[in-house]
Each structure stands twice: as C-alpha cells, then as structure tokens.
C-alpha cells in the first residue's frame, strides 16, 4: 500500500526557531490524485508546502517520495527528484523573458517530462508573449508562466500555493481547468487554497489544517459544510 503513494508524510513537525508551525502531520498523495490543503490564515498551509521542498524553517519526522526519505535534502535536489512548487505570489524573475523563466524550470528539473511546445498547447495565450519580460505581463499571464516554469521541471508531484490569489475569477477558472488534465497525465497535485469551495470542487481528497495540525481529512463529499467549517475555524 505504502509503495503506491507518491508522497508519504508521517509525523512531520516544522519549526521556525522556537516556534512550532506544524505538529505531527500525516499526509499522502497518490499519482493522479488532487489533494487540497485548506485552512485559515496562519494555519500552516504554506509552511507545509515549503517544508516538503525544505524551504521553510526546520522539519522533523518523515517525508518519503517514491519511498525514499527526502527530509533534509536540499531544495535543489528535491526539485530535481520531481517535486516542484508554484509559489504563492507567482515569484517570476521580472526582468527575464517568459522564455527564460520557463527555461529555468527546465534546467532545475528532470528534463524528461513536459516540453515547452506541450506547455504552449495547454496555455496558448502565453505563446505570443515568449520574448516579453515576465514583469510586463498581467497577473493572470504571470501565474500561467509560473505554472509553466513548474511544469517544465517535469514534476511528478506539483505543489500549488494559493494560485487564485489576486486573480480575476475567469483566469482562476482557466487555471483550475488545467489541474484535472495534469492529473490525467499521472501527476500528483497538492493545492493550498483559501477559496474552500473551489478547492473542494476540484480535489479528490482534502486535509484541513488548524493551528498547525490536521483537523479533518477525507473526501469532499463525506462531510457537511458544518463539519468542514468546524475543522476550519476550530471550536470557538
């Protein structure tokens, strides 16, 4: 069973100095599965995603990717093994062209998955902007390029941090429509999202974080809104 999982997290805690941001997280993603991580501001969602690629504080516990322990490996090595993040706020290199931003994704990755041509067939709107500096693009276009940079790294596990933040609903629809296509290619996908309804609509399973702990997990249909709301806000 365990070997079927793409990512298997067991008892992971994360610390910023003395502060404990995550407590004993158990979490898994299978290939071809979309898993949502929901939770209020400060629940530890972004910390969780970044801990998976060793780019947030110090983590303890176990993170297995394809059965191999990756906790403590460098961000560059983890990405090279096939986990890639679409960071919150897009985080492109604004003075670099779209092509150069995409190419960096290719260079840090495994170089055996999606090609630039395939990417442009999924996001045709970007194909005409290849020579533009990324900083000159609209927010939605930048998010698509941030997606592209991650996809060209040929990830088997894609981590999406707040991809809808600050974008027009139509653009968000377009981005979310891509996720099932990627799942069908066999990618495991983790989405961290404030917009619960949107996240639960696309996800196969979800985890709700509350103050750094998993407060609820399961399939979106299994629970009532009141259950989720309780797990989300706590029993106040």
């Amino acid at each position: 069973m365990q070997n079927d999982e793409l990512l298997q997290v067991a008892g992971m805690s994360a610390f910023y100095g003395q502060f404990r941001a995550l407590t004993e997280i158990d979490f898994s993603v299978a290939p071809g599965e979309i898993v949502a991580v929901i939770g209020a501001n400060g629940a530890g969602k972004s910390t969780f995603l970044r801990s998976l690629i060793n780019h947030a504080g110090t983590a303890t516990g176990s993170v297995r990717f394809h059965g191999t322990e990756i906790l403590g490996k460098s961000t560059a090595e983890i990405i090279n093994r096939g986990i890639m993040l679409v960071p919150e706020g897009r985080r492109l290199f604004p003075s670099l062209t779209v092509d150069e931003n995409l190419r960096l994704g290719w260079e840090v990755g495994r170089r055996d998955g999606m090609t630039a041509d395939e990417y442009f067939s999924i996001f045709p709107a970007i194909a005409g902007l290849r020579k533009r500096p990324a900083g000159a693009l609209s927010g939605g276009q930048q998010q698509m390029v941030a997606f592209g940079r991650a996809l060209l790294a040929s990830p088997q596990l894609l981590l999406c941090d707040e991809i809808s933040l600050g974008l027009a609903p139509l653009v968000v629809d377009e981005l979310y429509a891509v996720l099932p296509k990627l799942r069908d290619r066999g990618l495991g996908i983790v989405i961290v999202e404030q917009d619960i309804r949107r996240a639960l609509k696309v996800a196969d399973r979800f985890y709700c974080l509350l103050e750094g702990r998993v407060s609820l997990t399961g399939r979106p249909g299994e629970y009532t809104r009141a259950d989720v709301s309780h797990a989300y806000f706590g029993s106040h």
Binding site: S74, T75, F93, E100, G105, E107, A153
Partner: protein
C-alpha cells in the same frame, strides 16, 4: 597646441580601457553576487604576482604565463566563493565588507612577505614602445590601443554571455531575486561561485595589462579598487557598456588635468566623480 590637447584626450580615452579592465570584475561581483569586494584591487595585484612567478621563477614567456593565469584566477574565484564568501553573501551589507577587507589585508601582507616592497612591471618588448601616427602630430601607443581593444572585446563577450545565454539567464535570475532562485531549485551558491570564477578571469586580464602599463607593488590594490569603484558608480550597474563610458570619462579627466598640472591628475578624476555623483546619483547609463 590643439594637437597637444587631442593627444591628451586620446591618451585619456585609452587609459579608460585599462580602467574598464579594473572595473569589469567588480561590476560583476556587485551586480550578480551583490558582493562589494574590498579586495578586488588586491586580487588584480595577486594575479600580477602570479604572472611575476610564472615569468621570472619558471621562465615562461608572458603570453604563456597569461594563458595559465586565466584558469588559475578563475579557479581561485570559484574556491573563494565556495570556501569563504558564501558564508557572508546573504548576510546583509556589513559582513561581506568586513570579510573582503580582511582578505585585502591578508593578500597585501602575504605579497609583502613573499616578494618584498619593490615595484614590479612586465616587459612587453616592442608592444610597449611602438606608436602609430594617426594624423600630423597625433600619436597613439600600440599597447594603450590594444588595452582599449581588449576591454571592448571583453565587455562585448561578457554582455553576450549575460544577456544572450542560458547561463546568463541564471546569473540574472540569481542577481534579481536570490530567494526566489533558491525556492525554484537553482543552486544559488554554485551560480555565485561561477560568477566569481568569471570575475577571477577578468582580474587575470586586468593584471596583464596593468603590469605592462604601470609599476605595481604589494600595496597597489586599494588604488585600483578606488578606480574600479568610481567607474562602476559612474557607469551604473545595469549596463556593462556604461563601465566603458565611465572608465573613459575618468581617464580623460585625469589625462587632461595631468596635462595642466601633473599634481592635479588623480585629484581631478575624483572631483569629476564627485561632481557627476551629485548631478546624477543613479550613474550615467543606468538601464531602466
């Protein structure tokens, strides 16, 4: 009389070629690694002494010594970053200043210990003595002209490397947003070390032409550093060709002032620098 001043200005322009060679490496350090390298001038002097060893102790011809020097200095730059400077590159402004200041002191005293305080220079044979007559009464020396030509070629090559290659895109990414670069899996330290290797290679070129054109001793580094600083501040960091313009401006100011009164030469360069800083603090050619 006018020929006199044309010659003076021309010499200033050519002197600018040498100053550009001093400055290119520092511009790369500051621009890519965000490392204000107080020891930059001393690295050039160190490279010159390696040339001294190769030519005098090993008896190799100067051109062959230079070909050996370039990879040596590139390797030194790489090791310097990976072994020492990486520990301070993301720690704010002060730690890199202190560490490179210490490095500067170590290089100067190490060279004094090993080579004594005598001034040195290289012998370049006919290259140093031949001049061309451009027009009636107007002359340029072969070596100063070659220096400027090399500076132009080097700037062109580095500009193409940075703005026209995949490696250059990585350099720019790391320079622009080091935290993001690390977040998306770039090995920032390695990119920095390769940038320092490039810096090391440029110090080899600067060392060769400096030693052919002027005397140096173990304590000459800070003087070269001041020139390099003034050049990159004048030229602005965003544009490599600005380095050449800043260097020529400084060279011409020194040359013209030196023709009026030789005691003014160095002072005039600094005054022009201060004046332009007052009028255009962003540098002359900042790329927007």
């Amino acid at each position: 009389m006018s020929e006199f001043y044309i010659n003076v200005v021309l010499q200033g322009v050519l002197l600018g070629g040498l100053y550009a060679l001093f400055a290119i490496g520092l511009a790369l350090s500051v621009g890519i690694v965000r490392l204000v390298n107080i020891a930059h001038g001393d690295l050039i002097i160190l490279a010159s002494y390696v040339l001294v060893v190769l030519t005098q102790s090993f008896g190799l011809p100067l051109w062959l010594s230079f070909l050996i020097l370039v990879p040596l200095m590139a390797g030194f730059g790489y090791v310097l970053q990976q072994g020492l400077l990486r520990h301070v590159t993301d720690k704010g402004m002060l730690p890199p200043l202190l560490v490179t200041f210490g490095l500067s002191v170590i290089i100067q005293n190490g060279l004094l210990e090993g080579f004594g305080a005598d001034t040195r220079s290289f012998s370049g044979g006919a290259l140093q003595t031949s001049t061309w007559q451009l027009a009636e009464g107007i002359y340029v020396g072969a070596l100063p002209a070659l220096t400027l030509l090399v500076a132009v070629v080097l700037i062109f090559a580095i500009d193409r490397l940075i703005y026209g290659s995949h490696f250059g895109a990585r350099l720019r990414a790391v320079s622009e947003a080091p935290a993001t670069a690390a977040l998306v899996g770039l090995r920032v330290n390695r990119v920095h070390a390769l940038a320092l290797a490039l810096v090391g290679a440029t110090t080899a070129v600067a060392a060769l032409f400096m030693g052919l054109r002027m005397n140096f001793d173990p304590l000459s580094g800070p003087g070269r550093l001041i020139i390099a600083f003034e050049v990159i501040v004048l030229g602005g960091l965003g544009n490599l060709w600005g380095i050449l313009a800043g260097a020529i401006l400084l060279g011409v100011a020194q040359s013209v002032a030196g023709a009026i009164d030789v005691r003014l030469q160095v002072l005039a360069g600094h005054l022009v620098f201060l004046l332009i800083i007052l009028l255009r603090p962003q540098g002359l050619f900042q790329r927007s």
